[in-house]
Homo-oligomer: 245 residues x 6
């Protein structure tokens, strides 16, 4: 069940049978010459929606702009500063907790979100910890590519050049979800360089077309379908465990 | 063109022909017994996407959680505090301005956002005004129902009971966009009460099923199609004026 | 009764008979060649004080610096950023609520405050709404020129050139309150241009002497007296309704 | 010259002959059984206005609500949290600096403001210090009772029972400025207890009627006139030195 | 007992016999040609540790970076903005209060911290005062050189040239604590100039080698020992009074 | 060279030969029955100081209170909220960058800091990325136990029961640094339970004596010496690489 397509009485009824919710969270940032700016938001959204439909759990709207400061030298990228993202997470969490949700599972699509997301969880817990009261809810964040079994599929599909940013895997997932948006682009070198980065100027200097370590020309909707199938199954299992915990 | 389905080189190319972008902005909040929690985000998203496709302008991802404190007594509602929303708007605006956008048009779907959105614009301008530098971008927010000609269509379709929240019009727009989510619900009284409100407890006491002044049982996908057609045409005209200003 | 000229036992006694208070709120910003920088604070202050004296309600000190970023290119203007103004409003409201006030009526003198003021109210309510507790107080903001009957007087006095900023009406109100501060100035054109604006540089470029749409040379203390009389009577009625609600 | 009764061209002309401005800053808080809630804002306002008129310097509107957390157990008191007050000071200072003021002199009427005011100055300077740029303006805060010669007059007028809060001196100054607000009240003991305090509950427990160490029944408009005369003369000297520095 | 060298069961046991704690608080900032950058943190740390050992009270870790914006033109200086320092103080205080501490005594080593520290205390109290609840803890800040009897020793040791920053006294205290860090440097003039300052650029222009009014070439470990002995004895007395209050 | 024991001219001279600095960063939080509350701050401090002395690099004062919300149910623990810690990091980084440091290496001693530290780095970079300027400095954070070769030593010393919190390794490091603080305590079970946690109440319920997975009764100063030796050597290599990058 998608929260934004549900009515409040439907959510009220849902809360009778479960107090867990899944929140897809991503980013809007460059994903190389043939990847979509929305990749990191779309991947968890696609996976969560399919899983939620199959397993009857509630999927919140996607937190679609995240921490992407390092991509700001590429047009179309949008970032929250970490302090803003932490504030926004407090409000999302407080709102869901207010309604009675006690298990909030963030399915994350962007490595750059991980630290700020965890900091946001700690900020939320800290309010309870400093007051000396027990927090009534539990928060969890998992990257979709870290769901059990997903990496194996990706490695099988892309033994070479899956990469670290604008990966062949994530581009495939979005192509599966949005086949009308499949793009082709000349990319040179075939496999992008790897390495670390600091701010946006540094990132662009090191990774001129935006990719890190990837050859996303390999991406296809069909491969995306395989990845989504694996991720969906894994997510259902993980979510059931977490909601039941 | 949808920003999140575009690549960064596509946005770079777009910026050669236009430095304007449309941002749908809404809310995730109860919309009565048969309305979708995502109504206020979905309406501007639907309209902006159709208009953007027809008129080749860029549509950003939807700012999908807004200022909905008064709906917090209904499960499924999510709010940002105004201070958080202002911070998030600063980051969206700064990111888009960084890329070279000089005209940012927010198509708004939620009356409760209006004040905070304007405050956010002023916060953004204030940084330039206090430094004594000229701000290179212009910000504009328009509610989709205030686009020229839209109210006339709504009044014609719903001469009675369009209402002020969970309106027959907005529910129709979402039913047009998501026919699979059409819902039926007994609603009594047929037309909801009207009035003002303060916090969430006050709101729920005055409007027990969430509607204000509306009879959204009249909503249908077909009526939504007519509203969207009118809004799309109007938006194209407005946006062209704004981007050219 | 003016709060700042009262003692705390007098306020304690007042709270026995009423838990309502009126807060004049304005701005310190340019008001054209012959208007006072304090116009927007002085107008609601003058009206509220006269009304409070006649009808025995409590008038708080004036919130005298508001959201005036767009006037920063004219010396003497002082602004709060919206985020600061929202924070300050939280503290004023919390302080008054702490003392037992349950109805706080802001009589506003500045159009530029409206959005931030409403955002500030929502910020205050949101704390209660997210905690799931009922807020014990009600907040209301009304522009003095929107009080019932006031516009009619202004239109009668200034059928042409009342304008939108540095209006003949508001300048008259301050001249009535501070006849020693009546000023004359050559203004050309006689009626200032109209239009919208963004940041301070944009404002000054469009409205070189600060006025928008007005011919404030028509202002006089006598005309101000008529406006104040109308506003005072209206305010008393409005406040009684609100305090009794 | 009072800024709020001046026009912007008058301030522009003033800036040709001086880039200094005096800002009265006070508090709205209980001042015992016969003292005005506005005492701490009114005292510097009265002194600054008389001095500004005599010596032709510019006096800004009064920053009339300050840091008064310890008075919150007495109705009518309004406080800013220190963090809010620091934010507001940044905006006042930035606005005045933007207009070209380089010397901003805060005439303070509330001991409880001193720390936060200094912290606010440091916050303002820190922005320049961390950027490695020279700050173009200088900030100064002086309590009116610390102006040269003022304490001598107060001690002469009130050899016993001037006190530390709701002092006979400050009540006299307000009675001089607002003779219509002179109040009488039984106060027991005649001279209030002395000591320190923490939060509002602690303050009220130690000082049940709000006074600290004072016998303000001795206050009179005539005595206030003498204090104001001394303070005015001293302020003029101090301001000239500071503006010329 | 040093908190950071204790285990939590040891602190739990301590809380059975006392709910008071001493927090050394200082700054990391230039202290002239022969003074240590850590002087202001080390002095209260040295004194508090010796006193805590002798009198069995708990000493928290040192708050070692404070408000030093004016020293930023000298390398090695680190500052918190006042707003940051206030936020950090809230967290330290809340944490200690959460554990059951009711008397928190800050032994301060930096004049530039005083205002922000007091503002931080007020911020902490204000939360209780605005809620109308009694705050369960008391906060106190004392500069080590203001402890009873300390100034007399310093004046005796340094009848000339103790100064106001990079004082002979404070440098002596650090030389006593860290004899391996004794430094010699040519300083001209022998006694540094005195005066006030604004931002960092202003400070460096007025005090080119960082000292204010001091001749710290007189400093020695032996003199430091005498100062520490006096301060330790005084601190024990003061802390016993405060913890027992 | 320890920054806090250096003078500013010594730092100025250092900057001629290197623009890199190491900042030990830790936490003040319970470390089980025999571990020190300061463990996480002391470990990186001990290692950095020894390495800095040997290899002549500058070591800043220790950031000694970190993100420890989950330990707040154990007395003596002190936490910063993540938002506060991010603000404090901005100020430390800005101060060091202002002085000319271009490589800032945080040697971290607390797993709970990692996310907030990374978020703080991104906050710092984001300011540059959004302005479109290249950031002149680079930030790096490494946990001391992740330095090359350190884990091998720990595993050799503690093949069983090193654990995840209050580890035998970290307790050993502090015992090496502070042999006077070696403690003994009965701990049951010998090896603490393992698992994850949310807020402080949850943590204490799962890990009643504070340890996670560890048997720190094995700790000794001698074992600590071996770990420190390995970490010191590794740190010198890492820092040289980073400073030279």
């Amino acid at each position: 069940m998608l929260l934004h397509l549900a009515s409040w009485p439907e959510v009220e009824a849902y809360l009778e049978r479960s107090t867990g919710v899944v929140v897809p969270i991503g980013s809007t940032e460059q994903h190389g010459p043939n990847g979509l700016l929305g990749t990191d938001a779309l991947c968890p959204e696609i996976i969560a929606r399919e899983a939620g439909e199959e397993a009857d759990f509630l999927v919140a709207p996607t937190f679609n702009v995240g921490m992407a400061q390092h991509h700001m030298a590429f047009p179309g990228s949008i970032t929250l500063r970490p302090s803003t993202m932490i504030a926004a997470l407090q409000d999302w969490i407080a709102s869901l907790a207010r309604a009675g949700f006690t298990r909030i599972y963030f399915l994350n699509g962007h490595g750059g979100n991980v630290a700020t997301l965890q900091a946001g969880f700690s900020e939320s817990y800290a309010a309870w910890s400093l007051r000396g009261e027990a927090c009534p809810y539990r928060l969890k964040a998992v990257n979709w590519w870290d769901l059990p079994g997903v990496q194996a599929v990706c490695r099988e599909l892309f033994p070479v050049g899956d990469g670290a940013h604008a990966t062949a895997s994530e581009v495939s997932v979005t192509y599966y979800g949005y086949p009308q948006a499949v793009k082709t682009a000349d990319m040179s070198p075939k496999i992008a360089p790897t390495g670390s980065f600091a701010d946006a100027a540094d990132y662009r200097a090191r990774f001129p077309d935006g990719r890190i370590g990837s050859d996303p020309a390999q991406a296809s909707p069909e491969k995306g379908a395989r990845i989504v199938a694996a991720a969906k199954a894994a997510l259902i299992g993980e979510v059931r465990k977490f909601f039941g915990a």
